[in-house]
């Protein structure tokens, strides 16, 4: 029986706790008698027979939807869209959930005699996936059957010939979707729900639409009013995505398939990364010492290559299919079963240790903007109810924050960091002055469409992602980061965690209460 998450009050007998620091980790001691550590629940038992569970889900759909076989008929246009490489994290071992689900859908389509089938990676404004990444996500059978004939595609949010304008929602939001999707008799969307933000109408209204639509929910106003991003009923971003998704649903029949994973994020030789420190055995301590010492001898590139080769032993804990909203409600309940940890009250300071990978740097570099997005955008928003810190509290982040960018994946990030952040860090100002220029720049557009680059506007979205935290928190301190890079973002650099905690006292007073969010594995704090 996996143990639920829990909150450890730090006393003098508490051993140092593991804290991620980019492509590495450290053991850090927290101040006794005023700190607490939030530990994630242990991984839930996976589905005993995931393939059978998928088959049952397709035959017994939720909500107002017929079973999938009844929706398939010869001569129809079937489009299967799936989440891109930003999910799950770290990438999971084969077979990926997407492979299992899409193979089951294709089996039914083949049985129904459907010829016109196209698979679309729902990238939204993310970078295109490489063949190797597609092969990993979909498996060899699907890749080899669909890729050579051009029936395995990647969404292109910029090509006017590939988009269809559907109309406006009652809030005036434009809905412009992939032409193939708009012209399909059925869209089957295959999702992996790693965090509560994913899934539901957000899948289609972000992954398969153009900048013209995405900008309605990815902006400073919605993000400042998403309390939190992981709590859909209180997220302005999701409200907008839901309106757009519902309008799409009036034009295209959508059959949503969502899966959840357990939080078994690291292979057995790195099991110490998700164990509670006082339970570390000889093997865990030896692995920690050997890996941390070994990593310290390597170059950053070598370390990155090692970490990005990690494939998580995630396993499927649930699968649900049918009408989008009914499916998503059940998915979130299953996700909460794995991820929610009850936390009593807020603290003055919260500490995050950022790992090597986030949604936007799979097989890439976590540049300073992604550090900001991961900490202030994602980790900060991992709450239901109230944030882990009080208003005006301090966020401490542990990450090397190198002044380094992947020139292929993140070209517009470089210009944003050099040019925009040196002028202002105010999200509203950035949105007003720079968004249009970055979003419509021909060179970025060209790289997004033909190379493996994130869309020109993506670095601005990274900044917006942290807009709520920027407004809410009193200060952000980055431990062990490149000082120039940290200062460029308007944050304060610190050499050690102890220094950072001392610096935090300038903002929140002496002997502040501290919460260390021991993540990953991913969890969601339900703050009372």
């Amino acid at each position: 029986m996996p143990r639920p998450g829990f909150v450890l009050e730090v006393d003098r007998s508490t051993p140092p706790v593991l804290m991620w620091h980019g492509e590495g980790y450290r053991l850090e001691r927290l101040p006794a008698d005023r700190s607490r550590v939030v530990y994630a629940p242990e991984p839930l038992a996976p589905l005993a027979d995931p393939d059978e569970a998928i088959r049952r889900a397709l035959l017994e759909p939720l909500g107002d939807s017929a079973p999938l076989p009844e929706l398939l008929f010869a001569g129809m246009r079937l489009t299967i869209a799936f989440d891109d490489l930003s999910l799950p994290l770290p990438p999971m071992r084969r077979p990926d959930n997407r492979q299992r689900v899409i193979e089951a859908v294709l089996d039914l389509a083949a049985a129904a005699g459907v010829d016109d089938v196209v698979l679309i990676a729902a990238l939204g404004l993310h970078r295109r996936m490489t063949d190797a990444e597609l092969r990993h996500a979909l498996g060899d059978r699907i890749f080899d059957a669909f890729s050579p004939s051009g029936r395995l595609r990647q969404h292109d949010a910029e090509g006017p010939e590939g988009l269809t304008y559907i109309g406006k929602t009652d809030h005036g939001e434009d809905v412009e979707v992939s032409r193939r999707v708009a012209e399909s008799d059925l869209l089957v969307y295959v999702n992996i729900n790693l965090v509560a933000m994913d899934g539901g109408h957000k899948s289609t209204s972000t992954g398969l639409m153009s900048y013209k639509s995405v900008r309605h929910h990815h902006n400073v106003r919605t993000l400042q009013h998403s309390r939190s991003l992981m709590d859909r009923p209180h997220s302005e971003l999701h409200s907008s995505a839901w309106r757009i998704g519902r309008l799409l649903g009036q034009h295209v029949k959508v059959f949503q398939i969502e899966t959840t994973l357990n939080n078994d994020a690291f292979p057995s030789n790195m099991a110490f990364l998700q164990k509670r420190e006082w339970e570390w055995g000889v093997r865990d301590r030896a692995s920690y010492l050997a890996s941390s010492q070994g990593l310290s001898l390597l170059s950053p590139t070598a370390r990155r290559n090692i970490f990005h080769s990690i494939k998580a032993p995630h396993q499927m804990t649930s699968v649900q299919a049918g009408e989008v909203e009914a499916v998503h409600t059940r998915t979130i309940a299953n996700l909460h079963r794995q991820q929610v940890v009850d936390v009593e009250g807020q603290s003055d300071v919260v500490v995050f240790g950022l790992p090597h990978v986030g949604p936007y740097n799979v097989n890439s570099i976590m540049n300073p903007l992604l550090v900001m997005c991961m900490s202030l955008g994602y980790w900060f928003n991992m709450y239901i109810g109230k944030p882990l810190i009080r208003p005006g509290g301090v966020i401490i982040v542990s990450h090397p924050t190198p002044w380094a960018f992947h020139p292929v994946h993140h070209p517009s990030y470089i210009d944003f960091f050099e040019e925009v952040l040196s002028a202002t860090t105010d999200p509203l100002e950035i949105e007003k002055t720079y968004e249009e220029r970055f979003a419509t720049d021909d060179w970025y557009r060209h790289l997004y469409r033909t190379s493996y680059a994130y869309h020109g506007v993506h670095p601005l979205y990274m900044w917006y992602w942290g807009a709520h935290a920027l407004e809410y928190a009193g200060a952000t301190i980055i431990v062990g980061g490149n000082r120039r890079a940290v200062r460029r973002m308007g944050f304060r650099p610190a050499s050690t965690l102890a220094d950072a905690l001392e610096m935090a006292e300038d903002h929140v007073g002496r002997d502040p209460s501290v919460t260390y969010f021991h993540c990953p594995p991913v969890m969601l704090a339900n703050v009372h």
Partner: protein
Amino acid sequence: MFTERLTRLKRLPFPLGTPDWPGQVPRPPERGDLGVNYGTDWARRYPVRLARAAYTEAVTRPLVAAVAKPAVEGLDRFENVEGPVIFAANHSSHLDTPVITSVLPDRWRHKLVTLAAADYFFDTKLKAVYFSFALNAIPIERLKVSRRASDKAEELLAEGWNLLIFPEGGRSPDGWGQRHNAGAAWLSVRSGRPLVPLHVQGTGRLWPRGARRIYTGHTAVTFGRPVWPDAPRQQVAARLETAIAELADETSTDWWSARRRAAAGSTPSLLGPTAASWRRSWALGPSPKDRARRRSPAGEKVWPPKP
């Protein structure tokens, strides 16, 4: 040799050694016969007592005299107490126990049982045997005294053994004192035996927590008047804490000044200033390591420089 021996026995820090177990988290059942389950009765049999007495006289006391040069005050304050007592001391170093043992008069020295943290001193067979022998230690839990440990302690008091207990529950992490656990007062109230407060000064500077070597220098041990358990436990605990703070004041100033401050209720707290960690460590003055490096007179602050 003593230093080397103790250094070798010192538990390796996590992650080289085993991690501490947080007090809040219930432990899985103790494995086998170590930890709190370790039986120490053998260490109080007559031949072992004889061997320990010889070891204390021939090894511990000369070494303590050479390393810590303890000055002792206040033995007269409790010499009239009949029967066993519970010595309660501040705790900043592993040197505390040998220093206290070596300055106690014979009557108590060879009839003393030390209550030692089960998770530290009794986690391996070798350590359990050594500390049972050398310190006549019995294992207790760090944060709360279990029924088993308290029954054992009471039984030993009834048999006429004196106890040595560190109510802070562990060595000071930064050189300043820590809040007391209620165990000592609780034991005193249950057994009806008095607490003898005592303050050890200087050991924390010679061998602080986490240090890899021991410095030589001077220490001072000051005993106070017995605190009798004639009040509820909380009051006894508070009186003990105050008594130790007053002894500390007496050691660092003089008896009369300390008494006046005690009467005025302005005895300085052993917990140190409520300030940022660097100021707490600053207020302690330079460590022996700094002093050795700078060759300034012992205990004197090097900054700010004298005008």
